[in-house]
Amino acid sequence: MSALIQSTPTAASTEATPEKELRPPSYWAFVVPALVVVLAIIIFPWVFTIWMSLNEWKVGSPTTFVGFANYLRLTSDPRFLEAAGHTLVYTALSVVLPLVLGTLSAVVFHQNFAGRGFLRGVFIMPMMATPVAIALVWTMMFHPQLGVLNYLMSLVGIPAQLWVFHPATVIPSLVLVETWQWTPLVMLIVLGGLAAIPTEPYESAQIDGASLWQVFRFITLPLIMPFLFIAGMIRMIDAVKSFDIIFAITQGGPGSASETINIYLYSVAFSYYDLGYGSAIAVVFFLLIVLLAAVMLYARQRMLWTEIASGA
């Protein structure tokens, strides 16, 4: 098939412009199989989800077209609104903490020390390990009576916590796991940024007698800002969608104290089998992520403009 596709357009274009010959549409043949797969598993589900969201669609009963009823239902669904709130809190914490800790770790890993390669490998293990397996061990560590965390806390005189077993501490506890898991990704991205910084600014700063903090604040930080932004964006997308850790540790509990949109979506679609409503949640959820990304892009743009305006 590829031979057929590539012979015709090449022949036609050779006479016109010889340099263009290397970039004819014949490369489409390489893309077609993937295109079919992407259409089937990414585009089709999306189109179908949008269609389902406009229907009353429950497993085992006939479907009826209801227009935007599912979306209207969302606006007055207290459980959804609560889940949206949880999602925003969870996301904000899970972006900021790994960003701060990841940047600090990157600065450390940017130095030269023995065994750096190996230790970097150890450092990134949390994010590569199977989330469910990790979640299982964290659940044991969070155990109020037998868990090792409360023991460690008692060593420094902090009273025992209920961690994921209390509504007030469940989200911070889950964020702790998320931060532990994903700080390495921020570290890697920022480390890449640090490697790209030229050495001259540091040399002149040293001559001027700048302190370590000043060097970090006024040289390193502005230069790694683009990388921090990318890391923040990726972190945001992943934190909003976080599922494995929350589901395996609390399933949204206690009560609904840690139920995020993604967990609620799971319940609606696969516990209640209300697929039409679930689809509407999925669409709104996707739009929310896009919106958050757009806000971040806008904030970044604004920051750049003020930097330019202030002459920095």
């Binding site: 199977t130 299982l136 992943d238 395996a248 799971y266």
Partner: protein, 274 residues
Amino acid sequence: MTPRQIIRRIGLWLCVFVIVSPAILFFLWMISLSLKFEVDNAAYPPVFFPERIAWKNYADVLASNRFLTYFVNSLIVTGSATALALLVGVPAGYGIARMAAHKSAIVILIARITPGLSYLIPLFLLFQWLGLLGTLVPQIIIHLVVTVPIVIWIMIGYFETTPMELEEAALIDGAGRWQVFRHVALPIARPGIAVAFILAVIFSWNNFVFGIVLAGRETRTLPVAVYNMISFDQLSWGPLAAAALIVTLPVLLLTVLAQRQIVAGLTAGAVKGG
């Protein structure tokens, strides 16, 4: 070394110790849990180094024939999903890079942003209509959602950096595009393919959300099997931790052994599926 330098060295090592210890301590504790009898696991204050080591926890997990089934399921799902993704994704990455069709990356971006559950709702219905539930096929297909974007993304990036001169020379010599791809571009791209392969394997192996919806009793993959153990064996931490460690061990080994590829792949594309 001046005293000032020595202090800085010590400070640096202190920092290294602080940032690496959460990971090290966690995995050491995981190993400790998995090697202790229930008496030691239920002890307070916690026992770090048990007097008697419970190898039995591992033996029990490995001896249960279900575990073997789930292990094979995981191998089949991850293996097939990765192989298929390489089969379609490597040529696609090549085509997109050579056509400089950067806009097509939007689809990958959308795939990256979409929550895994939103693929599940329509595909779940589709698999039900096709009567595929109860086999491994649905999971293999849906794992492509994870593996295909990873492979395409990494291969676009890789083929963009490989030199064009050789390919152009081969084209002038009258080789077909397919031949150029097969004999010139592909051999050069081997390191990139390795990166794509490793990341696709890891993220497919780790995937949980697709399994809990699509897997039946016989078709569970390891992460789903471990999750189901939690609800049944609430109080036997030893075997549970052993099972968790076995599930994640292949991935951890791969992380340490192929660290360079993983770091390269993650920082290039920073992709993660699901």
